[in-house]
Symmetry: C2
Subunit: 476 residues, 2 copies
């Protein structure tokens, strides 16, 4: 067994990458995702495509075998049938490859003897040869800083999120959904069957990685329970750890077994572990993304009291948003008379609620000065800890035009920032105005405000965020 | 008190509409929403804009007062300050107006004596004059068949949903979000403070309306509890009734009171009423929309056993989708060996799960024949009651290109329809490919398949749909 104490840092800046399994078939994953990903993400080392039949792929010289590549190969990307892997692995050792990632599936997860034998065989070869394996049945490493990538849709924007992900599809979705929302990664590892390097190794790495401030994980099962708990405890004591656990139901556990061959384990045990270590558990993939949004952009809150401001949303959405926030465990307190009086100095009495929720009447909401003043008054109240600003998802909002909505956004951003109160923004998507929604989202995100696509999703994530900080405080 | 037994049918096909409160101010609601809405929705009767200062608005001749309008006025739309309403109402009676809707706010919901007095006054005037009021503080009637509308974004597509909605903003959102999702209305009424015509009147109307097959409601409070329960019971015994209740928390109840002046009432009582009458309660606005999607497009299921098929979604999303379905109370059964063997006849063993969830490997998922065959095999199993087909929300899906994805959709639509098994489609939104997502959604919707934007939202709505049908069955 290799020394797991050795830092995995070298994995993230290989001098060269060989990609075995590129092809002339259109849409081939190794070509269109791995090679194209490396090129678009600006990987600076040498890239060696390997294919017996062609001499050039995507402007890169191709080699007929791994042994024919001219320089040293630090990182090998494998996308060939499982049965050919043992031979390739032996060549890799001869070549001096340090680590290899396998897109290839068809190992232990098949659940039959053949698959298990093949998996045992490659692990044996790798250990004897001192080469580290990521996968099989995973997409390997995404590291924006060094341009290491497995998808052409991933950018080279680095960020504070370190992610370990037992599913390739979930990895791609995380990258593609997080990127436009301003949530960027230090490193993301798609590690599939975890035959050699596994969740514990990556968790340990991220715990000590100065580039990683938030750890996110999609985990189906663990190889070594006691070691996992020990490392998780340390990780969660060092930085926030958000985990989406796959296989929390009987059928889900069965699906896990045929996906990565992992044992999903008992829910009660998992819940106890999460609880004791202070891990934040996400209930589905959207919730993991919302939690990432919150931990990335929201400063810690002093308490759970929200000033809920509907910027022209109408009274009904104010009622519903308030219900949703309170059901999630947040508080929408009745604000004192002084706030009401301040607001009534400049806003119409009719069509407005001024006691929290604040249902900002149209003439105030779409007047940049009016919405700014409203926020200033509400934010300055010592009765609330944060602002929760929501917009209507219908034509009434968008017929005001992008310019006015941008002016509104500018005023909201400026006044919330001046107020120093943590602020969440909810912009519900609406098909007909998708382009305007997207531009407004970007404006808020670029100013560092978290943006959510529903009041329920925002409230759920913020409530868990507050719980986390209360727990942290309790520990100190 | 007017005879509530009289059918409200006349409300929906007035010979003429007068709009008082049109203005020369840009963006004015009466102009841009009401007048423009009537014009775009193709209202066939006479439209009389009323404004003292102009002679023409939006190509329509304007009149300086209601009394100056040439023909009879059946329906009056009021958007003037609250204090001027009593006088206008007296004129309306003289003019022979049958019903009037008030966008105008500033009545009982203000919570002060002035507002309450004004509200009592207009109700008194209306009752004496035999004119019916909708609102105040509401948007009135949307009836696509007759072109009656209050928003330029509403279409004249008629559908089976009758909606009563105590919030104008929620009404607009319902219309704007439902329209592109193929959910159309027979009538929608935004009824605000419900001073005269109220929730019970509209509920009773929809119960007997042959154009309405599904009743949806956003309700903040009721005026007459016992009568409401009696009518609701009858409504829910006649057709599905979906209710989103505003004010289910302490702060939400307070917000209700300042929004429409309603008493939100005790949650336990509401829950008992919903339970006893068989009403389906939505927990938030998105859930109401998902329920509408389900009741509109999903045929009744024989049971809660799903065949979960990930069309190239990857194993992780299959695991997570399965967890979410089972947590919602649905069942993802382990399919028998015969299904597995049938599937393995044409699909690769590696990278696939074939025991349910079905994690359809890429080479099969994006081959229209392959995905079709997969669905055929799974759908024909007597071990499942419905299909739950989901797609990945990342570039891997969309780099296959719109043409291939449309061919995939065509095959999915054809084989699910041939199978006769109820089918749900989940297409998770992803900003970068929003346009492709939208086109694919439309393709599935046009074929009559319900489309949801997350596995969690789909599972929650479908579970409630099944519960409803089980309850109905139990009654018979």
């Amino acid at each position: 067994v290799p020394d797991n104490k050795q830092s995995l840092e070298y994995l993230f800046h290989p001098r060269s990458v060989a990609v075995v399994g590129v092809s002339t078939v259109p849409g081939n994953f190794a070509n269109e995702f791995v090679l194209q990903g490396l090129l678009q993400c600006g990987y600076q080392g040498e890239i060696y495509p390997v294919n017996r039949r062609v001499s050039e792929i995507k402007g890169l010289k191709a080699y007929s075998s791994l042994m024919d590549t001219p320089g040293p190969v630090d990182y090998l990307y494998v996308s060939i049938p499982a049965s050919s892997v043992p031979q390739l692995l032996k060549e890799s050792i001869a070549k001096g490859v340090k680590a290899t990632a396998f897109y290839t599936a068809g190992f232990g997860e098949l659940g039959d003897e053949e698959g298990r034998d093949l998996e045992a065989q490659i692990v044996e070869i790798a250990r004897q040869g001192g080469i580290r394996l990521i996968g099989p049945n995973g997409l390997g490493i995404y590291c924006p800083r060094t341009g290491l990538a497995f998808s052409p849709t991933s950018s080279n924007n680095s960020g504070p999120v370190g992610a370990l992900c037992q599913s390739g599809g979930v990895s791609l979705t995380l990258i593609d959904v997080c990127e436009p929302r301003g949530i960027h990664f230090s490193k993301l590892i798609s590690y599939g069957n975890a035959t050699d390097l596994n969740e514990v190794d990556f968790l340990e790495y991220f715990t000590n990685d100065p580039e990683t401030e938030i750890i996110a994980a999609y985990i189906e099962g663990v190889k070594d329970g006691p070691r996992f708990v020990k490392v998780l405890k340390e990780a969660a004591a060092t930085k926030p750890v958000l985990i989406l656990k796959g296989g929390t139901t009987a059928a889900g556990k069965r699906a896990v077994s045929s996906h990565t061959g992992a044992l999903a384990g008992d829910n009660d045990i998992w819940n106890t572990i999460f609880n004791q270590t202070g891990v934040i558990q996400a209930d589905d993939l959207n919730e993991l993304i919302d939690l990432l949004m919150t931990f990335r952009f929201m400063p810690p809150l002093k308490g759970q009291r929200l000033g809920v401001i509907g910027a022209g949303s109408g009274g009904g959405m104010s009622v519903l948003t308030t219900d949703v926030c309170e059901r999630a465990g947040l508080i929408v307190p009745h604000l004192s008379n002084s706030v009401r009086e301040e607001l009534l100095k400049f806003t119409a009495k009719a069509g407005t609620s001024v006691r929290n929720p604040i249902d900002c009447v149209v003439s105030t909401a779409y007047d940049p000065k009016g919405i700014g003043q409203t926020i200033k008054v509400v934010a300055s109240s010592p009765e609330i800890d944060a602002l929760f600003i929501h917009f209507d998802s219908n034509g009434f909002t968008y017929t005001h035009g992008l310019e006015l909505l941008k002016a509104q956004a500018k005023s909201i951003i400026q006044t919330t920032q001046e107020s120093g109160k943590p602020t969440a923004v909810v912009i519900r998507p609406v098909a007909k105005w998708a382009e305007m929604v997207s531009q407004l989202e970007q404006k808020y995100l670029k100013a560092g405000l978290p943006v959510y696509s529903s009041e329920t999703r925002a409230a759920t994530a913020i409530a868990k965020f507050i719980q986390y900080h209360q727990k942290i405080k309790g520990r100190k």
